[in-house]
């Protein structure tokens, strides 16, 4: 066996193993979700009536595709309202994370080089801490007579407890908190690479610091803004834990609806239809993210 032949064989194996794994555990499951979304729910275990039993019945299957679940999603305001609500919360989360994350990333990128490594670790550290723990930490702060109420009352700012837990504000706070590192890291990566000489040039040519920021720094950090926004927005739309624990009865996000259809109502086909529509909603931001990533790959 020649060395080239064995190299090729090994090379093929390197590609094939993760490829097959992902096809089996990522791609096929999505095909199954799609199929399930087109099934009817049934009082059985597992609770659905399968519609598709191999290629032979493909014709029959296509003739009785059941769009009932999607019709239900379109007709019942509960569903499309919770989609819209999720998009709104995700958009607000993205904007707030940008408002807090940009100055933070900018300050980190401006810090002396020997500090930057440790600053990064401190941004990532809470991200590595359990999601559940971080949300739980906010319950302790926001609950009636919790830390926030106690300190505001102690300072004499509020006379009676604020009802913050189980509100939309609490959900937003928890979301921004949990997703902030996803915003800060890509922003930091672009801002750190920014050529400071350009800012000096702008200043030499008489630009005020704000003008220099708006005409030089901001446009150049746009790739970081887009990547960070997509990384926050996409998972935020389908978030379940935060609206469930920090939200109230009126903060019905779509992830919570899917969870409820699946675990409480045991309507697997409907839950699958919710998932399919959720993915369709996310296609555009996903494509934008992938394009930003490809452009970065080209650049390096």
């Amino acid at each position: 066996m020649s060395a080239t032949a064995s190299l090729q064989r090994l090379g093929r194996l390197v590609v094939a193993v993760p490829y097959l794994w992902l096809a089996l555990f990522f791609l096929i499951p999505f095909a199954i979700v799609l199929r399930m979304a087109l099934s009817q729910s049934a009082m059985a275990l597992p609770p659905y009536a399968p519609h598709f039993e191999g290629l032979a019945q493909l014709g029959e299957f296509l003739s009785q595709l059941d769009l009932e679940n999607f019709r239900l999603l379109a007709d019942d305001p509960l569903y499309w309202q919770s989609y819209l609500y999720s998009l709104r919360i995700a958009a607000l989360t993205t904007l707030l994370a940008l408002a807090i994350g940009y100055p933070l990333a900018y300050a980190m990128a401006s810090a002396p080089a020997r500090w930057r490594g440790i600053l990064i670790v401190f941004v990532i550290l809470p991200f590595w801490t359990s999601f559940l723990i971080r949300v739980y930490a906010w319950i302790g702060v926001l609950r009636p007579e919790g830390l926030l109420d106690a300190s505001l009352a102690f300072l004499g700012i509020t006379a009676e407890p604020l009802r913050l837990l189980n509100t939309e504000a609490a959900v937003l706070l928890g979301m921004v908190y949990s997703y902030l590192p996803f915003m800060v890291l890509p922003l930091f990566a672009t801002l750190e690479k920014l050529d400071r000489g350009l800012l000096e040039a702008a200043a030499d040519l008489g630009a005020a610091p704000l003008t220099a920021f708006l005409t030089v720094t901001l446009p150049l950090s746009l790739p970081g803004i887009l990547a960070g926004s997509a990384l926050v927005f996409i998972p935020a739309v389908g978030e379940f834990v935060i609206p469930d624990l920090l939200g109230g009865p009126d903060t019905v996000m779509i992830g919570k609806v899917l969870w409820g259809e699946f675990f409480s109502n045991r309507d697997w086909p409907l839950a699958s239809a919710v998932a399919v529509v959720l993915l369709v909603v996310l296609v555009l931001p996903l494509v934008l993210l992938q394009r930003a990533r490809l452009r970065r790959e080209m650049a390096t």
Binding site: S6, F25, L278
Partner: protein, 262 residues
């Protein structure tokens, strides 16, 4: 180097206070002698003692650790292979699909990933439990592991591998004696990331688990649903400490790697 003005220092202080204050409060109240979370009853390690008596919680923690261990190992092997495929095999058939599949789980809503894997497991009539959760975790943390290893491979001196092959080493021997020793800090960091991701996951585990396999986040979640208690604070504090140790170890590893690769 630029000087940090007062505005930027304020941004750092506010940003980091926002990130850390809630967690610090949680840790502080785990040492509270009083059961009431609002009243400070003096320093006590009582709740840590109570944890040791909490059998279901300890069982769940042990399960999560084993699960994290196996799934992180799987994810690291697959992620490293995927990184090698993307970094070394230029263009191959289906490359776009492949990189999409590697990276999509990073941003995919967890409810969708969990639901889709559960439907696969139900459809193939696999008994659900430890191994189904392990597969699910390996699948979604594979992409994270891949990114970590890929960034290391990007700054890699290919001539070392070529030299080894010119001297007659087979590709496998080259990988084992040249490539792996050079990228192992990134591989170790990838493993740690995959391990904490597995330890952290509630949603995907809830979908893909079966009877008898209740993970630590699932236990914590049902406890949190009932309300705040100092015992949960104590459990969380232990997890935070464990993660902090792992992250600091990982960043030291990466730092050493950067120092050696100069």
């Amino acid at each position: 180097m630029t000087r940090l003005g007062p505005g930027l220092i304020l941004a750092l202080v506010v940003g980091f206070a926002f990130l850390y204050l809630p967690i610090l409060t949680l840790v502080a109240y785990s040492f509270n002698a009083s059961r009431l979370v609002t009243v400070w009853g003096g320093f006590s390690t009582h709740w840590y003692g109570a944890l040791l008596q909490n059998e279901p919680l300890l069982d769940a923690a042990w399960l999560s650790i084993r699960l994290g261990f196996v799934s992180a190992t799987l994810a690291t092997i697959l992620g490293t292979l995927a990184a090698l495929a993307l970094a070394r095999h230029g263009r191959f058939a289906g490359r776009t699909l492949f990189s999409g599949m590697v990276l999509a789980p990073l941003v995919m809503p967890e409810v969708v990933t969990g639901l889709s894997l559960l439907l696969l497991f139900v459809g193939t009539e696999v008994e659900r439990g430890f191994w189904t959760v392990t597969i699910a975790h390996a699948t979604f943390s594979l992409g994270f592991a891949c990114i970590v290893v890929q960034s290391r491979l990007a700054g890699f001196d290919r001539s070392l591998e070529e030299a080894a092959q010119d001297l007659g080493a087979t590709p496998f021997v080259t990988f084992w004696t040249v490539t792996l020793p050079l990228i192992w800090p990134a591989v170790a960091a990838a493993w740690m990331l995959a391990f904490t991701l597995s330890l952290d996951d509630l949603v995907i585990a809830s979908f893909t688990t079966g009877p008898g396999a209740t993970t630590l986040p699932m236990r914590l979640y049902s406890a949190v649903k009932l309300g705040v208690s100092p015992e949960i604070n104590a459990a969380c504090t232990i997890m935070i400490a464990a993660v902090a140790v792992v992250v600091i170890a990982a960043s030291l590893l990466l730092k050493r790697q950067q120092a050696t690769s100069g």
